[in-house]
């Protein structure tokens, strides 16, 4: 008995040996390696005890790969691991309509269905004007071209996460490096062609003293409050380095301040995450998650959380989200809200659950109602990632990325009222990186296909427009220097529209001219 107890005790000691880096550090380093910085990172790292084995492991992996290949020939099996990976079914090759084809959004009359009545926004809560005005731009007649950028603009490892326009200034938020550390970074442009990086601001360098964590970065940004309001996350202090939701504001995109360090997003006993911020209501609404931290434990039970603000500076958490939201089980087995938008019909939020995309509606951003699963069925793949949501004057479009064997594609969901949804696809190899509503139309950016080198690199940046969310028309791209990669965000500005993306060489910028 004593031996048993000692064995368990010894195994526990072994398991707890050393000082953990923390999940964020491991993730960040893994990400760097995935982005091709493995060599330099390993050489730079003082904790590179894995450096020599890495090279050998790759060689060993090669040997194992050959063995596996032989095994494949002999047994027909492919994966040496047992993990029973769920393979999603093949993507539909043609447009899929799950219910009766809805009328075109542009054909919708003001006749309000019963379900929509609860979505009507009280006059006092009429949303602010959308970020993207109902521009007179004819989306179908824009020509897109990639901007030639000086090499000095980005350093290795930089990436762009958000693009937004404040007045006439374009602002890119992303991640860069500061010494050996990855930090939030900002770039600006007045015309979409000439860009400069904003000098590093300590406000983004929030690494707690003694923590192995790097600061977290932006998740979303919106025009509102004093100018721009960005939400993101940083690593919290303490032994578990839990995440903290953070809000930054900027009057001009150049100078940034952190909002309310002791505000409702931060707590000693609670871990918060903020995924999305949206202007409307009036004011601002941010959605994410919060969970109480059991003393001494890193894990916690996540619940949806929503914060509102009139000015972007003072935020209040909505305590009563309604029974349906309050009863959401914890992630990852449950559901969370991911992105929120609104139009004159109210608010729509999409999230993920253990069996697909979930949609919520709210007339007032306080009380949320879950759209019945049958209204968004069938959902043919299990994939939580790549959720995007946009509102136009006449409806909503949500996209969700799916995997099919070795390829990826996006499913597009369209709704007039937020409650009844119809699914379609743009193409069997189309992956959507972002979607925006402009006036009564939608613009989707992303990529088609993959480079045929087994790397999974998106082959062709691509853009589509739609007036109804169902029929999508490819936009004209100047492919002279398009290269491979994808486009993942778009904003009004510059000569018309400006988009940001990614290529194997680094971040990319695209402009659309009439």
């Amino acid at each position: 008995m004593d031996t048993e107890r000692n064995l368990k005790h010894d195994l526990e000691r072994l398991a707890n040996n050393g000082q953990p880096w923390g999940a964020q550090t491991v993730l960040d380093r893994a990400e760097l390696e995935l982005r091709g910085r493995a060599a330099s990172w390993v050489l730079d790292s003082p904790r590179a005890r894995w450096s020599r084995p890495v090279a050998v492991i790759f060689l060993s992996a090669l040997v194992v790969g050959v063995s596996v290949g032989v095994s494949v020939l002999l047994t027909g099996t492919r994966d040496p691991l047992p993990p029973a990976v769920t393979e999603a079914p093949a993507p539909p090759t043609t447009t899929v309509s799950t219910t009766q084809p809805p009328p075109s959004l542009s054909e919708i009359t003001p006749t309000v269905p019963v379900e929509v009545e609860e979505l009507l926004v009280p006059a006092a809560l009429a949303p602010d004007p959308p970020d993207v005005p109902s521009a007179s731009l004819n989306l179908a007649e824009l020509t897109w071209s990639r901007v030639e950028l000086p090499e000095s603009l980005f350093t290795e490892g930089d990436y762009l996460s958000q693009i937004v326009t404040l007045d006439s200034r374009l602002v890119l938020l992303g991640m860069g490096t500061c010494g050996d550390e990855r930090v939030a970074a900002v770039w600006t442009s007045e015309d979409g062609y000439a860009w400069s990086r904003v000098p590093h601001d300590p406000v983004f360098h929030l690494k707690p003293l003694g923590s192995p964590q790097c600061p977290k970065v932006f998740r979303d940004v919106v025009v509102g409050g004093p100018g721009l309001v960005a939400v993101g996350q940083i690593a919290g202090p303490g032994p578990t380095h839990t995440l903290k939701g953070v809000i930054w504001t900027s009057p001009d995109g150049l100078n940034w301040s952190r909002v309310s360090p002791d505000g409702p997003l931060e707590s000693e006993t609670e871990q918060t995450s903020v995924y999305s911020v949206y202007r409307g209501g009036p004011g601002l609404v941010a959605i994410g998650q919060a969970c109480e931290l059991p003393p001494g434990q890193a894990g916690c039970e996540r619940r949806p959380a929503i914060w509102t603000s009139q000015d972007g500076l003072t935020w209040t958490r909505i305590e009563q989200l309604g029974d349906e939201v309050a009863s959401i089980p914890s992630w990852p087995s449950g559901t969370f809200l991911d992105t929120v938008v609104s139009n004159q019909n109210g608010f729509v939020a999409v999230g993920a659950s253990d069996n697909g995309m979930t949609v919520w509606t709210s007339p007032d951003r306080t009380t949320w109602t879950r759209v019945p699963r049958e209204n968004t069925s069938p959902q043919t793949c299990f994939q939580w990632l790549g959720l995007h949501l946009a509102a136009s004057d006449s409806g909503f479009v949500a996209t969700r990325k799916c995997n099919s064997g070795s390829s990826e594609y996006s499913t597009v969901w369209t709704s007039v009222d937020g409650r009844n949804w119809t699914s379609t696809t743009i193409g069997s190899d189309v992956v959507i990186g972002d979607i925006v509503g402009i006036g009564s139309s939608f613009l989707a950016v992303g990529s088609t296909g993959q480079v045929d080198d087994g790397s999974g690199t998106p082959a062709n940046p691509a853009i589509w427009t739609s007036t109804d969310g169902i029929t999508w028309v490819p936009a004209e791209l100047d492919i002279t220097n398009a290269g491979s990669g994808s486009i993942s965000g778009v904003a009004l500005g510059g000569p018309g529209l400006v988009a940001k993306g990614w290529s194997p060489e680094g971040p990319t910028i695209w402009v659309a001219t009439p």
């Binding site: 000691r13 398991a15 050393g18 982005r35 904790r47 995924y275 994939q383 790549g386 070795s406 999974g456």
Partner: protein, 164 residues
């Protein structure tokens, strides 16, 4: 296929990994050979998995990562064995001891194979059943039991020798 679309680990994957990190790191610390850092091992396993899969697509991501960790350890052991053999052949001042990263009284445990440590740890500490452990390690339930039984005998023998 590179699952990380543009090299980025998706936010939801990060959230999932945060949940998995602590038990994975503990598992890595148990099965790793001396001289490595368990976090290095976890990181390498994560990179390996993300190069081929989305974390959220895996039905059992924790099991998948554990198995990957064990495969990496196995490869590393093989590499060391080859190196030791080469060093012996060259009769150089080869047998430079590797500084252990574990307390000295855990030496007996570290003499067990990584698979044996993995079985003992998963059963004794994590509370998995043998059939679950077998699935994780890619062996039969009987083989997992046998490994555990043998490991216990080794440890008991070592304990007996020390107390003589």
């Amino acid at each position: 296929m590179v699952s990380a679309f543009d090299g980025r680990i998706e936010f939801n994957e990060r959230l999932l990994f945060e949940e998995l990190y602590e038990p994975l790191r503990r598992f890595a610390a148990v099965v790793m050979p001396p001289g490595l850092d368990p976090d290095d091992l976890v990181q390498e396993a994560l990179v390996r998995v993300l190069r081929k899969h989305r974390l959220n697509d895996l039905e059992h991501p924790a099991a998948f990562l554990r198995r990957t960790i064990l495969n990496l350890v196995w490869n590393e052991r093989r590499r060391r064995r080859i190196r030791r053999r080469a060093e012996a052949e060259w009769a150089a001042s080869a047998s430079r001891p590797v500084a252990p990263t574990f307390p000295s009284d855990l030496t007996d445990l570290m003499r067990l194979s990584p698979q044996a440590r993995a079985v003992l740890y998963l059963v004794e500490v994590e509370g998995f059943r043998f059939d679950e452990v077998a699935e994780m390690l890619g062996c039969s339930s009987a083989a997992a039991r046998k490994r555990a039984s043998r490991a216990r005998k080794h440890l008991q023998a070592a304990l007996a020798a020390e107390t003589l």
